[in-house]
Symmetry: C2
Subunit: 336 residues, 2 copies
């Protein structure tokens, strides 16, 4: 394995609508000599996530847009292969945000060493045991204030955040967990593997009607990864005092048309509802509690997961687009 070069994927132009290979450039560079305090990390897995689509636009958002010619930053997990920093010796498993490249060399402070737990593959640091799981935890427990006995609806439930959120809701004592997904196979997986009480295929249409049929007593908490029609359906199904954690709106990320807003916003008043959008960066202080709880659940064998893996850094853009189209079940990852 040649660790003296780094193959990286850069943003070449801003996508309008769906991204394509032409919006990206694959470049291989020689890595410079190691400077004092640096480490070189060979990635094992890199993450492709919906939020990255937002950063490809040049619009105001919670994180700065990617710049043209810049490497796509994001989560990755790898192992130190060369070290000029005492605190991160060769062989250390680390996570970082350097993103789409096979090998990365940078200051040791930009990497976080993670303990190696028997039975926990390193890839899980990019989903169930990482930011994805923490997003699900924060959205349910902090943002939506989920309580034991709540009926919980999760949109995009077969995705990385959704599979985490459903299981967490179940483990925290939800009365009923309902999910939506985009294929019959995913719908079956939700009830068979992920502990959902009911699930439906939103591509069958009439999201509001399907949700109402599966939540005859209404819903208390909505964890939204999709937006659009799903949000309107949830507003119609909410019980008094319902709370929504708005995590994603993947239905609108690749459209160039103005989305249609929910027509039943007045329900917020009559039913005393709360809608709160969130991004993980403001909630990182909850990571220790999450790590403790999720680690415990893992050890007890209570957490299922799926990974959809694409091999090779050169196939990262393909994996990213496939993920946006819903080709993944569970977490979409690129294996280096």
């Amino acid at each position: 394995m040649d660790n003296t070069t780094s193959t990286q994927i850069l943003l070449a132009s801003r996508p309008a609508g769906w991204p394509s290979e032409e919006n990206f450039e694959v470049r291989t560079v020689e890595l410079p000599a190691m400077a004092d305090g640096q480490v070189r990390v060979r990635n094992e897995f890199i993450s492709v996530d919906p939020y990255m689509r937002g950063r490809m636009n040049d619009t105001r958002s919670y994180v700065a847009p990617y710049q043209i010619g810049e490497r796509i930053a994001g989560g990755a997990v790898g192992r130190v292969v060369a070290s000029a920093a005492q605190q991160l010796p060769v062989g250390t498993l680390v996570t970082h945000q350097h993103g789409w490249s096979d090998t990365v060399q940078a200051a040791a402070e930009t990497f976080t060493p993670v303990p190696e737990i028997p039975g926990v593959p390193s890839s899980l640091r990019l989903h169930m045991m990482g930011m994805t799981g923490l997003t699900a935890w924060v959205g349910l427990t902090v943002v939506a204030g989920m309580k034991e006995g709540d009926t919980v609806f999760i949109s995009g439930a077969a995705g990385a955040v959704g599979t985490a959120a459903g299981q967490i809701a179940r483990l925290l004592g939800a009365k009923r967990v309902i999910g939506s997904a985009g294929s019959p196979e995913k719908v079956e997986l939700l009830t068979q593997k992920y502990g959902y009480d009911a699930a439906f295929n939103y591509k069958d249409g009439d999201v509001a009607g399907q949700l109402a049929a599966m939540a005859p007593e209404g819903i208390d908490v909505f964890f939204d990864n999709v937006g659009g029609e799903h949000l309107e359906a949830a507003l119609g199904a909410f019980n008094d005092g319902g709370r929504a954690a708005l995590c994603g709106a993947i239905s609108s990320y690749n459209t160039t048309q103005a989305p249609v807003g929910p027509r039943n916003m007045a329900n917020l008043i009559t039913r005393g509802l709360k809608l709160q959008g969130f991004t993980l960066s403001n909630y990182l202080q909850h990571a220790p509690e999450f790590g403790q709880r999720m680690g415990q659940w893992f050890t007890e064998g209570k957490i299922a997961y799926d990974e959809t893996i694409v091999d090779g850094i050169e196939n990262t853009v393909e994996a990213f687009i496939a993920m946006m189209q819903g080709a993944n079940t569970g977490k979409m990852l690129v294996r280096i």
Copy 2:
């Protein structure tokens, strides 16, 4: 004055769209002999409020719909003219929820005695010193979590709740208070009398553009009485971490068309926004603190107010419709 009869206004049929006189019936009844524990109250003022429109529909809401043939319930202030209850002697000033009638006779427990404060007319118990003021207080401080230094936008700012909310925001140390209203005269009143830093006429159109021009540094808190285009404008103007207290949606109350939802809901996620609908019934525990603060401000001469008064119980429906059309400045009241 004849206090042995009661003239009352009943719901005769459910309005579709704008209500008209035909939807109501005026009826005069002989009052029965006083039973033990009852009082008879001659109203001084009765209240007409936007939320009453919602109760005229037969749809799920936070309070039960009015029934056909039932007196329109709502806030009123009056004086005990006959008493068979020791705790409420003749002459006591009381507020109650018996609504649209000139004289009412009922169990003493359904009336609340209120202290008479020199310089505070009894009508203020129906707005600045009553439920209206408390609604403004709760929406700003509890629901939206307004803090000193926030820029606050209030829609329908020249109405009863709006004139209270603007002054409370100012007194609590808002950096900037911006209001919308429906006529040039109201807009001028907001800046001249109610301490608004800027105000605009939403009937001039382009609510988002007008708001953006008046809030060049964005808004932190939105107190919404109007809904629709105002909500979309606020979502576009919010700074990160913005909070909206959704109190009313008068723009949609009398339309039979499905309202258009805000097309920029994704801002909730990217800016970490919170939208919370509320109705006062869940926040009555804040009444003592509000009463103390508002009483103090009144005593210090810091609270301005307007009343639009219509005389005569028989003109109540006219007053109600005029209020829905924005004919009032400040609180619309019917004087008995």
